[in-house]
Amino acid sequence: DVKVTQSSRYLVKRTGEKVFLECVQDMDHENMFWYRQDPGLGLRLIYFSYDVKMKEKGDIPEGYSVSREKKERFSLILESASTNQTSMYLCATQGRLNQPQHFGDGTRLSIL
């Protein structure tokens, strides 16, 4: 089974802090994704990566950046956290094109 591990299940930070959310996968998947989930809006794509050091913006990249230095790890960075970034963040991987994505358990982030 694919295992996608997100470093924190719950996280509380303060406005203005730099926040790192980590995602690690153990299946050598090329593609990795970061989504945020908000009630009534479903999941929306923030950034994705098709390979090491490669990244592309999703639908809502503002206020976020990402890093993929190694194939198995994809980090989401909130450069200066704001209260409107309080949300659930989900990481996903995809092994090959046209295959389903596999998700981590999510990080519920609160910005105070």
Partner: protein, 115 residues
């Protein structure tokens, strides 16, 4: 751009009943994939079923089946003999066949199975 709409924010049925969740989408693509994902209270997003747009036959996975109407851009999920463990948020999602393989999600339907 693609959009996915789930018009039922919440549904509730009795155990063992059959329930149908609705999903419509909009796209100009001719080939694509559609998915239903389930998110129980544990938060783990689980793939329920997958449909390829170029396949006429509706996908089936045990008690879960879909009614895929390509011309109407409709993709409903039917759960037969519902069980307490089916209680979850259900998301419909779209993925293009080519190019950026992001998932485009609907708003979700919260399904409760009552004993």
């Amino acid at each position: 751009a693609q959009t996915v709409t789930q018009s039922q924010p919440e549904m509730s049925v009795q155990e063992a009943e059959t329930v149908t969740l609705s999903c419509t989408y909009d796209t100009s693509e001719s080939n694509y994939y559609l998915f239903w994902y389930k998110q129980p209270p544990s938060r783990q997003m689980i793939l329920v079923i997958r449909q390829e747009a170029y396949k006429q036959q509706n996908a089936t996975e045990n008690r879960f089946s879909v009614n895929f109407q390509k011309a109407a851009k409709s993709f409903s999920l039917k759960i037969s003999d519902s069980q307490l463990g089916d209680t979850a948020m259900y998301f419909c999602a779209f993925m293009k066949h080519r190019g950026a393989q992001k998932l485009v999600f609907g708003q979700g339907t919260r399904l409760t199975i009552n004993p």
